[in-house]
């Protein structure tokens, strides 16, 4: 029973870790550039959850000051992650434009085919 309670209390961490290693696996194992970028954004969003989920207090509410509530969630992780989301979209856009450029140069977005063409 204790083990089950412990599992439920840390369930968010287990899912975050699963998302993280799934993103890592996609980035390392797949050769397609767009798939790699999607893996990178999966990794990134798992970090959002890692930051936000410890800030939650059960019974608390969103950090907007109102007389009817006294217990609020921690606002600092929210601010940091707002910045991270915007930076993430900037890097994603830059990566996609590089992919388009690579496709124009090599006519493929597969990693191994690019290596083969470079050797010629």
């Amino acid at each position: 029973m204790l083990i089950i309670n412990q599992f439920i209390a840390s369930y968010n961490y287990f899912i975050i870790i699963f998302l993280m290693i799934a993103g890592l696996y996609i980035v390392v194992a797949r050769g397609n550039m767009i798939k790699k970028l999607i893996g990178l954004s999966v990794f990134q969003t798992s970090v959002y959850l890692l930051y936000i989920s410890p800030g939650k207090i059960i019974g608390g509410t969103a950090p907007i000051i109102n007389d009817s509530y006294t217990l609020y969630s921690n606002p600092l992780p929210h601010v940091l992650i707002l910045t991270a989301i915007v930076v993430g979209i900037a890097t994603l856009a830059l990566g996609l434009s590089l992919t388009i450029r690579i496709n124009e140069e090599f006519h493929t977005i597969e990693e191994d085919e690019i290596f083969n063409k470079e050797d010629l």
């Binding site: 890592l24 696996y25 390392v28 797949r30 050769g31 999966v42 936000i52 000051i65 921690n74 434009s97």
Partner: protein, 171 residues
């Protein structure tokens, strides 16, 4: 908890599918699930941003990039065991790390005992803004936001530089 499990299932789908169009749509679904979870975790501002930026703009960007490149992914040629092994070892280390982490949703954790509570207590008297996230973002950590704007500006310059060069080549 159900939402978290759904997210894990969607990610398995992202790994399995070879058609990149399917993968991008699954990525959009993933971002919406993420936004719902953030809403449950009381991070309303972050949920709004994630729904508009993660599920909206990034899906549009991905689809336009896909239109300019290829639709299908080749089956991977090199060995799949090493990446899986790396991922599993990293995962095992991280699971070991969760033993030191506090349980979900309790109040006496280190994260709640430092500046977070201070921001909530002082926001109204210092800035007069009711939404604490806004006051921290724009007032207490304003330089952070300035740095963020610089990053977006740099990325925009980079994209313009990369795509402009291609136009010359086409001509």
């Amino acid at each position: 908890m159900i939402l978290l499990t759904l997210m894990a299932i969607v990610v398995i789908g992202i790994i399995r599918f070879k058609n990149l169009f399917n993968v991008i749509i699954l990525g959009s679904i993933y971002s919406f699930l993420m936004a719902s979870i953030l809403l449950v975790l009381d991070a309303v501002d972050v949920a709004l941003t994630e729904a508009s930026v993660g599920a909206g703009i990034s899906t549009v960007l991905m689809l336009s990039a896909l239109y300019l490149t290829k639709r299908n992914e080749n089956p991977p040629i090199h060995n799949q065991i090493w990446p899986l092994l790396i991922a599993l070892i990293t995962g095992a280390l991280l699971v070991f790390g969760t033993y030191g982490m506090p349980d979900f949703g309790i109040i006496n954790t280190p994260i709640h005992n430092h500046v977070g509570g201070e921001y909530i207590a002082r926001s109204i008297s210092d800035t007069g803004i009711q939404n604490v996230v806004t006051s921290v973002l724009a007032s207490y950590r304003g330089f952070d936001t300035l740095g963020e704007v610089t990053v977006i500006f740099t990325a925009a310059i980079g994209i313009i530089a990369i795509l402009k060069k291609t136009k010359k080549k086409v001509k």
